[in-house]
Structures are given as structure tokens and as C-alpha cells.
Symmetry: C2
Subunit: 709 residues, 2 copies
């Protein structure tokens, strides 16, 4: 597959197969728009019915075109696409956009047709974009290769590049977010069914494109989602923020999944995990794209999440505070010296707390604006500053803007402005801010969200640097691999726990008894009370089968219980295979956690953490990360769930052994990576987390082999 | 207090006290803007220094003005306001706007000054707006009585009226949301510190104003919050939606509160409860005001929350589905006959499921648009319809719009349009939709949110009608009132439970023993195991004082425990008063709930419901309603918490007795109303909810008398 996409975005020549003389039709529009926007390369319409199209010489087939075009646009109907694509292959065409619909998106025959295209593209090494897409706009080089009403407008070139799986909607996002003080786009491509070059291929290209500074993605799903983390981290290292709009959140749970982990880890949970792990910023509406784009356009990142707000309107200050705190920012106390400096010019009815309400009186002397900004920017408790100017307009606005620009130029901390005057009444002021790359917003809520996005990204960069210092734990167990390779059905608790032990995850004291006297001996050596659990590959839900007895306090009780659980197991299912009876210590005065692995066909292995009882099952209060996870990532997983206070020592409990829990998650992650060809799902439920210093213990476990799916 | 606000908004004459000849200053602007916007009444600038201001005869004092003006604007400095206000009172002025700052918002002396104003206004019966506000704009009658850059523009008059506690920000919201396809405003007033006419007074007026159709409020806090429910319900009955922007969500908990209920019921919880109970729609940004305003402008309400989406872009359909489901809408299956009808003209690669993807092919024959709309609107499973037209523009857009207008006119169901072409390229189409009052949005996310707001309001109206059929339970207990009237400190469990029993709330079997032999007799009659709890008005936290023993299984254990708990209680605190030892049955195989009462100084009594353990304390997963609550409201409270599945029968439990729980909440609400002069806080924690048919039982209770605060 081709990924030297420079030739795709900036082709020296383009052939248009199926070009129509009716320039308003779908197959007529690409030639029309390429010409109207001043495409500088050669154009070769191909259609056996015409001598020329729109004044350009027309060819009867791609074979007749006098050179090998860098890019071919295919606009013929679905049935003919395969033949045409083959001809392109024979000709040696590097890039083809297939606009045509009627492939996998319609199911049935369309799926077969699409598979055919995939093979042809692979055989000939063609870089295919589409099918079922709307083409590409390279604003920077005036290449408008596609159709749709959005092509019927001009755009200011800039530094934002976008890839969208949706054609119509993707271009409308670009159109809406580029106009009226919006973002300047560089290159936009829609990818449709993605049989060839994928969203991640394009993002990968944008990361290396020196003129792209901000990357926007609109996705419904990634077939190569397993690359997401790597691509995201590459962008993070390159300092190019990716704004990602992922739609389709309302999926149903995976009903076929047997474990909690797989049930809770729907597709969206894994996307969110990957975004979180690689600093990809999620957006949820068009305005987010614009707002965050402007935020990143400032070219500065805050060193922390502490925001100072300067306002002349108390109400707007409260609003921004609400939004920023909801988005994870802090609104810190200012240093005492800051208050002292401000006191000399802020009116008595203002406020020197954060948000600092300097009141409109400050505009009586616009030089005070610069001084205020400087004073607050210099505060050591402050990482970034937002200033709220209400609806200030006209000449005064211009003076204030000039002071802001001067003040902001003396610091590296990001300075954001909330200013609600409409564009028409403060044009000079706004132009000055824009020229100085000072992000401005009309709504304090939107301003707050944008600052928070910038701050979140800055933290992701710091986290990335910290994690580079950590080494992912690598563990391997040939024994475990052998054990699982033999399995097709669910693995019983005893065997699953032997696998855990191989990776250093502590389990309950226990042993498997094949006879009653063995069981008695094991119980005496562990010490009463004990539990008995029949082990069978045919019984996944031991409790349901009444094949478990707990709290057995004496030899006598054990003797009776042993017979009983075996009888129950045998009655539960005809011909049930019995591996033995597990004799196990009774736990456990600890917090019950659930940790697990789900091995997603697209993403690969991911680890999950949650608290037991209602937390995971009823509240779905769990965290996911793609494996491998380092210690600091495992700690994030533990700390980010809502129920975390229970581990930290809420409700009068002693603090739990979070260090041991983190270690167990890291080991589970290493296990997941080592056994990724063998494990489909894994639950440790519960994992008891004891008081600080007392460790953790897996009390039950379930493994569903990968081949068992 | 005056509340015949017609004269305020449309005064026949206005005096401006402190009018400046410099028309750009704050005290110069009101006269300038009144004149420039063509105010039709008489103007009387008042300033002893001038003969005339801006060509208008100036008077040296309000006494000299030749008539009693309907409205006076006070623009003098804070120290002089009281004298001027008194002069207005003597003159008999009905309405005064005090613009001046420097009162309660700056604390100290300002508070005293403000109190003085309040007294003067009351003595003379003056309707005061402000102080510390920016005045009023009556767009409909061209009365621009205030200052600020927002007054420097013209607005199209309409049917939206607004009241804002914030001056600068309130007007900027009006300005931003009225321009560029925004909302048409009728009357906007800012109220500042509200010593006289309050936000709710204005909303009350708007409800009765025949030309106001939609009401917008921006509030930081209401001093008369106790009226919110009544005003909200009046608006609900009148069919006038209130869009309310409440800021200041990031309050700290009320640290002084002793009960869970009061701790969890911060101010915002009570506002949200009042909004929910009276159908007030919360907004959170300027765009919400515009979007929801347009939604309500359609003049239709859906009969239910089932939305059909027609789209030509799969991506946009997914987005709207995500957003609508997140906001509580349903995207139902369409009836089979709908699919059959659509099949005749939707291309095979489209989708007949909901969202219905008719693909762009439908535009080849625009008459199919009307037919599609009609077919889907007729579906009995559908309450409202959204149609997504991507970026369609120009002539085709106009034809499509005409078809939509025709289709929508044949139904009463709301029809919403998502159309992302910019205004400039589809002016005819957009004008046609606007004229037909068909709400349109550029973003599918915003469109989805707006539909959901309309649907939420429609449900609030239905709920209101249902609740009118229910009678609030009224209970009264003179004994309980007597018991509490004597108390100043916390009430012990035993006495608190006798109060509960008076209102028919079941409690554990128990009796108070004053001697050990009594305790033994009680225990035997209840049956072991029992609990012992020392009762003392001096010990609120019995467990902490080790004054509790549970699981006492025999006479022998009881004898020992009795002495022990008493000794612990006496050691806990010197001179502790002992009421006796409570002997109590051991519960309880049920779900632990917490129910409670908080009696807010502003809102009055409110009831709270949550589940015990981590749910209420760690997750703050609770619901609040202002009392009294009917059975259906109590049921909503139970069903809306996240942990509800636990009561419905999650995790293998039998379904709990929700009916009995609802009854207990209704009784607690009746108690809260009856004892509102006596109870400050009340917790029942836990309230055991047994299996269906088995009822509930309060196992512990705490009352903090109102006078004890």
C-alpha cells in the first residue's frame, strides 16, 4: 500500500473516469470544481462517449491517457468499478479515489464486489481512497477533487488537516468550521469504506506533514484500531494535537460476552482508553472543533491546570469557573503579593479572589489592563489566564486589545479572552487578538471548555514523558501458554489461578483434592474455615450449580459438604467432567475489586479495573486501558473510578493496599500481552485488596480461551 | 410592592436622576439611548447643574418635575441614592431603577446602605429594580432604559422575554442570542441585587403578558426561591416554557450540616429539584438559549419521546441518535407498513431502519421528500421527526424546503430540520422554513438536544396533568409537634422513631428500657438476636461513643452488654443525660436506603432518597424533591437514581417493595410539611426495603430540630 501521500494531495495530473458533460451531476462536478478553483496540473477526463468535456480533451479509456496520472477519480457505477480499477492497475496509477456507492454499506452483493476491489488494489499496489466517499480538498494547493455543494466555495488555506469517514457530513464540518472566524484548513479527505488508505494512514501522513499543525478526525469505526495508540503517541511526541470526533456511542453491550470485563468493555470503552492513553482530544460537536482548534492555535501549553480568571462581569466569572472545574481545571488561590499589587487599582467593590473581578472601572485607564494581566500572569500559582471583557466595543475595545496583546507577549503562559461583543462592533480589537494568536470566545462556557482541552492535552504530553521513563513489565510463561493452548472451553478456577500465579499475581491458599481424605488433609493444613468448589470445564457458574460450599468450619462439616457438592455437580449436568474439588481458604477482610482482560479483535488485549459488588455491575464504574500498562497508568486506572474513595479509606475503612493493586494490574497487563494469542476474556472476581501493606489476593478467576470464541 | 409591571416596561414618562451631559458616560447613556431608539413618552433629565441635557429640559430635582413619572432611573453615586429614593417616594413614583453599584455586593458599609434603601422602598411602596443593575430594554415598545454597548444596537421585536440578575452578561446573552438567525426578544430586564422586584416577580408578569411566549431567566440565586415551584407550575399551566440559566454550581458542601440529607442537598440540588418539578428547562450556554428558543417557537409539542430520523447522511444520523438517546429520547422501530411504503422509492443502498437513510438519490425527485415525510409522520410509533439535509444549497434547496413545509403542514407532530449549508447559500430555503416555524439547526448534535428539550417539556406538562389528579397526602400530629417543640438539641433515635410512627412510617420493633430487667423482658418478647443502643440527647453518634451493641443472642450476652454500653456512654462525655437503653430487633434482609428531610431557609422542606452504603455517601447518587410530593413524584425519585436496578432486582436479588418505599417517602413528605416549623434536618438511615410485599422499616433515625440550628 502507498502511503507517500504527498502525490495524492498534490497530484501533477488527474484522470476522471466517467466524467460527465453535465457539470452539475456527481460525475460532472469534480472536473468543474478542479477547473474553477484553478487546479494547476493536467486534467484527463475519460469517457468513450465524448471528445471533450468542459473544453478539455476527453479519452476513451485510461489506457489511452498519454501519461500515468498521479491520481484517478472513478465515478462509474458499481458494476463497472472493478474493471476500471484493474485498468488503472495495469497502467500503474498510484492513487485512485472511488466515489461510487453500492458496496459493503449495502450488504449482500455489495460486500462481494468490495472484496473484489480490495484484491485488485492489493495485486496492483494501488492506493485506493473509498469507495463510497466524496473525495478530497487540498485548500493549500487548490486541488478540489470531489463533489458536493461544499466544493462550491473558497477557503482560506491554513494549518488544520482533516480526515473524515463520512463524506457529506465531513465536508459540512469543514465548511461550517472554516467560515466566520473559524479554522483555516489545509487538506481534507473523506475515506468512506476504506478498502485501502485508512483514516490512520492519513493521520500518520499529517503528523509528518510540516505544514499541518492540528489534525482533525471524524470516525465511525477503525478497521485498524490496533494502530491507534501508536499513531496517537507519535502525534503526541510531534506536538500535533489530534481532535477526534468518534460517533456511534449508543451501541448495545456485547451480549455474547461471558466475562464482566468483556461485557463492560464495549467498543467505545476501548476507543476512549486509546484516546486517553495517547492524548487524542475527543470532540463532540462542530463548535468544539472550532473552539479547540483556536485554543491549540495559540502555540502555547500551560505547565499545569491552574487557571486565573480576570473578569469585569461577576456572572461570566462564575460561569467560567463552573465549566472549568467540571472539566478538571483548578481555580487556585492567588499569591498574597498578587492581591497586594491589584489592590492599588481595583475598586473596593471588585474582588481580589480568583476569579478576580476588576470591574468595568478598569477601562477608565486602559493601561491598567496590561498591568493587571502582567500581575496575574506573574503569579506563581497560575499556569494560564482567561480574561473576560463582556461586550466592550469600538475604540475602547481596540485600546484594550492592544494592552492585552502587549501583556500576553511578555509571558509564555496561555492567555485566553472571552469577549461577547459581536464581530461587527469590535473588528479592530478582534483582528489584533487574532494576529497575536490569542484565542477568543464569545461565551465564557466555551472559553472554559477550550482552556480545559488545552490543559488536558498539556497534561497528556507530560504524562507521555513520564511514561517514557517507565519500562513496561514483560513476563512470559511457557507453562501458561501450554496450559491454555490445550483448551477450547472455559478454564476452571483452579487452572486459571495457576496461570495467574505464573505471572506473580497472588491467589488464595488452596489445593485441588481428588478424594475426600485429600480434601480433609488440605483443609487441616490451610486451617478452617474453608470453602469447597467443584472444578469442572463443564460448569462455568459453580454457584448456580450448587457446586460450592463456603464457611466450612470443621472436619465433620467438610465430610458432609464434600459429598454434597459433588452430587450437586453431577446432578447439574449429565456426564459432567470433574477435575476435582478445590479446597480454599476463606477470605477476606478487604475491598473487593474486579480486574480483567478483554482481547478485542481490533484493539488487542486491554485491561479493566473496577470495584466489586454494585460498582462494576450496576454502575459500570470501571476503567480500561490498552495493554501493556505501566505502573503510573495502572495507578490512573485505580484513581479515576468514582468508587476510588473506598480504596483511599472512605467510610471509616483503613486505606487499602493500592500499591499491591497497581502491581497486580501491571502483572495482569503483562500476562495479557504474553498470552494474547490464547486468552479471549479473563476475570479476576473478586480480587481482595487488603489494608495497606497487606497485599491483594485473587479469590476467583475465569479464563475464556481465544479459540473458545 | 408593585407588580403591575406593564407601567414599568412601557412607562408614559421617565425621569433620569443624575443625567450627564456627556452622553458616553454611564449616566449620560440612558437618555442618549432612549432618544436614539425613539422612545415615545416624556423624558425628564434631573440634574441641578444643567438647564438641558441633549436638547431636553433638565430639572434640578425630582420634586420639580411637572408630573409623576411612571419610571425613574437613578444614576447618582451610592452615598446619595437613599435621599433620592426618598424624594421619589414622596413624589409617588411607582417604579425606580437604581443602576448604582456599591451596595451589598461590596459587603460592609454597602450592606447597611442597601438595607436603608429596602426600608425606604417599603415605606413608600416604590417598586425598585436593582441596585447594581444595567436597566431594561423593551424592544417591542422601543424603551431602551439603561447603559452599555448592547444598547447601541437595534433588535427585531418578538415573543421572548428575559430577566437576568447579571447586568453585563445578561444583556450580552440577549445581544448574542438575538442576532444572526437568533431569537426575537420582547422585553429584557436586569435586576442586580434585587431589593425590590425580583426575578420571580418578572417571570410571574411574563406568564400573564399575552405577547410573551417564551421566558428566559439568568440567575445566580433567588432570595424568594420558595416561590419557584409555584411560579414554575403556573408557567407550565400557561404553556409558557421557562429557559433557566442557573450559575454557581461549584459550591462547597454545607459543612455545618449534620445529616446526610442536608450534606447532600446543597443549594443546587434544590434548584434542580424545583426545575424538574415545575418543568423549567435548564440551559447551560448561550447557544442553548437560541436552540431551545427555536424549538419552542414551533408551537408544537410531541405526544411522547419517540423520534424518527430521516437522513441523507449516515454519519449525521448516527450523531443525532447518540445525542437524542443520551438526552432521554427513544429512536423507535418504525411500523412495518412504513418500511413497505418507503421501499418503493428509497435506493437499495439506503436504510429503512430508524434512522432512515434515504440517501441523496431522493433529491432526484423532490416530490419524494414530501412523500417520505408524510409516510414517516403517519407512523403510529413516531411522536416527532427530524430530517437531515446535509449541505444542500441553491435552487434544489428551495424546492426541498417547499416540500418540507408542505409535508409538515399536514401534521401536528413537531418536525425539526438539520441543514448544514451556510445561510448565504440557501437563503430562500431557510426563509421558507422560518416562515413556517419549522426549527432548523446546522449541527445534528444541537438539533438532537433541542428536540430532547422540547420532548422533556412536553413530558413535564403531561406529568403536571397527572399530578393534578393526585392528592398530596396531608398528615398531622400534635404529639409530634409537642415532642419537638421542647427540643433544642438533636433528638435521640427512640424519640425520632416515635415521630416517624406518628406519620405511619414503619420502624423496627423496639422498646426503651430504664433497667436491666426491663431490657431482658423486652428482648425476650422481641426474640433474640437484639441490639442495644444507649439513648441520650448528648450523643448523636452512638457508634463512635461505643454506646451500641448488636447481634446479642442470649440473656447472658444481654446482661453483660447492657452494663458495658452504659459505662461507655458515661465515659464518652461527662454528665451525659441518659434516657434509657433501646432494645431493638436485629434487622434485616433488605436493601438499605436512606431517606431524609432538609428544611432549607429559602426553599422550605425537601425530601431526599438514596441507597445506603456507598451510593449516597461516596457516589452522591440521590434524588431530591421539594415537599409535598405525591406518589408518582416519590416513584420518580426512586427510579431516577443510578442504583435503582438494585431495588428492581439486580444481582440475583428479589425485587424490593418499591410500593412501600414510595409510601414511606410520601409520608415523610407529609411529615416534613406538617413539622416544617420544627424540623431542620431528618435522616432515616438505614431504611430497610424488604422484598416485594414485605414492606419497609426504619432501623435508625436522627432529627435535628429547626431551633437547634
Amino acid at each position: 500500500m502507498r502511503t507517500d501521500l504527498e502525490r495524492f494531495f498534490n497530484p501533477r495530473s488527474i484522470a476522471i473516469i466517467g466524467a460527465s458533460q453535465d457539470l452539475d451531476t456527481i460525475s460532472g462536478q469534480p472536473l468543474k470544481f478542479l477547473k474553477s478553483h484553478g487546479y494547476r496540473g493536467k486534467l484527463y477526463p475519460v469517457n468513450p462517449r465524448y471528445q471533450e468535456v468542459a473544453g478539455v480533451k476527453c479519452y476513451s479509456s485510461i489506457a489511452d491517457v498519454p501519461e500515468v496520472p498521479d491520481l484517478v477519480l472513478i465515478l462509474v457505477n458499481a458494476a463497472r468499478v472493478a474493471d476500471i480499477l484493474r485498468e488503472c492497475g495495469v497502467k500503474g496509477v498510484p492513487y485512485v479515489i472511488i466515489f461510487t456507492s453500492g458496496f459493503s454499506e449495502m450488504g449482500g452483493e455489495g460486500v462481494t464486489l468490495q472484496r473484489q476491489l480490495t484484491h485488485i488494489a492489493q495485486d496492483h499496489g494501488i492506493g485506493v481512497i473509498g469507495p463510497n466517499c466524496q473525495g478530497m480538498i487540498n485548500v493549500a494547493d487548490s486541488v478540489f477533487a470531489g463533489f458536493g455543494s461544499v466544493f462550491n466555495a473558497d477557503y482560506d488555506p491554513g494549518t488544520v488537516s482533516m480526515v473524515s469517514q463520512s463524506g457529506g457530513f465531513g465536508f459540512s464540518v469543514m465548511n461550517l468550521s472554516s467560515k466566520d472566524g473559524g479554522l483555516p484548513f489545509r487538506q481534507v479527505v473523506t475515506t468512506g469504506n476504506e478498502i485501502g488508505i485508512s483514516t490512520l494512514d492519513f493521520i500518520d501522513y499529517y503528523i509528518d506533514d510540516p505544514k499541518t499543525e492540528i489534525i482533525v478526525g471524524y470516525i465511525e469505526g477503525l478497521k485498524d484500531a490496533g494502530r491507534l495508540l501508536e499513531v496517537g503517541n507519535r502525534a503526541l511526541d510531534a506536538g500535533k494535537p489530534i481532535l477526534m470526533w468518534k460517533v456511534g456511542n449508543t451501541e448495545q453491550g456485547q451480549l455474547a460476552a461471558r466475562s464482566h470485563t468483556a461485557n463492560l468493555g464495549g467498543e467505545m470503552a476501548l476507543y476512549k482508553a486509546a484516546f486517553r492513553q495517547s492524548g487524542i482530544i475527543q470532540v463532540e460537536d462542530i463548535q468544539d472543533v472550532v473552539d479547540y482548534g483556536h485554543a491549540f492555535g495559540c502555540g502555547r501549553l500551560p505547565m499545569g491546570n491552574r487557571l486565573a480568571i480576570i473578569t469585569i462581569s461577576g456572572g461570566a466569572g462564575i460561569l467560567m469557573t463552573d465549566e472549568c472545574i467540571a472539566c478538571g481545571m483548578r481555580i487556585p488561590k492567588l499569591a498574597p503579593e498578587t492581591g497586594e499589587k491589584l489592590r492599588s487599582f481595583v475598586p473596593a467593590y471588585g474582588s481580589l479572589l480568583n476569579p478576580v473581578d476588576v470591574t468595568a472601572a478598569i477601562f477608565n485607564n486602559t493601561e491598567l489592563i496590561g498591568l493587571t494581566l502582567q500581575t496575574i500572569v506573574d503569579d506563581p500559582n497560575v499556569d494560564c489566564v482567561a480574561m473576560i471583557n463582556a461586550s466592550l466595543q469600538g475604540e475602547l475595545a481596540a485600546k484594550v486589545a492592544a494592552q492585552i496583546v502587549a501583556g500576553a507577549s511578555r509571558t509564555d503562559k496561555p492567555v485566553f479572552i472571552c469577549w461577547s461583543a459581536r464581530d461587527a462592533v469590535a473588528p479592530e480589537a478582534y483582528a489584533a487578538l487574532d494576529a497575536a494568536r490569542i484565542p477568543r470566545y464569545k461565551s465564557p462556557v466555551r472559553c472554559g471548555r477550550a482552556i480545559a482541552a488545552l490543559s488536558w492535552y498539556a497534561e497528556a504530553r507530560r504524562r507521555r514523558e513520564r511514561q517514557k521513563q517507565e519500562k513496561a513489565l514483560v513476563l512470559t510463561s511457557a507453562a501458561a501458554r501450554r496450559t491454555l493452548a490445550e483448551r477450547t472451553g472455559d478454564v476452571s478456577e483452579y487452572i486459571a489461578k495457576r496461570v495467574l500465579v505464573d505471572y506473580g499475581i497472588p491467589v488464595t491458599r488452596e489445593a485441588l483434592a481428588e478424594r475426600k481424605d485429600e480434601a480433609l488433609a488440605i483443609a487441616r493444613s490451610i486451617g478452617y474455615p474453608v470453602a469447597l468448589k467443584v472444578q469442572s470445564p463443564d460448569i462455568s457458574h459453580k454457584t448456580e450449580a450448587r457446586a460450592v460450599r463456603v464457611d466450612i468450619a470443621s472436619d465433620g462439616e467438610l465430610t458432609a459438604a464434600y459429598d454434597e457438592v459433588l452430587a450437586n455437580a453431577r446432578a447439574y449436568r449429565k456426564g459432567v467432567r470433574i477435575e476435582g474439588v478445590l479446597v480454599q481458604e476463606m477470605a477476606m477482610d478487604g475491598v473487593e475489586a474486579i480486574v480483567g482482560v478483554t482481547n478485542d479483535p481490533l484493539f488487542g488485549p486491554a485491561v479493566m479495573f473496577g470495584l466489586g459488588g454494585v460498582f462494576a455491575e450496576v454502575l459500570k464504574d470501571v476503567s480500561f486501558r490498552l495493554a501493556p500498562v505501566t505502573g503510573s497508568v495502572a495507578r490512573e486506572m485505580v484513581e479515576e473510578i468514582t468508587g476510588y474513595p473506598l480504596l483511599a479509606g472512605a467510610r471509616g475503612r483503613p486505606p487499602a493496599d493500592v500499591d499491591a493493586l497497581v502491581d497486580a494490574i501491571v502483572r495482569l497487563s503483562a500476562l495479557a500481552v504474553d498470552l494474547k494469542d490464547h486468552i479471549g476474556e479473563l476475570d479476576i472476581n473478586p480480587l481482595f485488596v487488603f489494608a495497606k501493606g497487606k497485599g491483594v489476593k485473587a479469590a476467583d478467576a475465569l479464563i475464556r480461551p481465544k479459540t473458545g470464541n
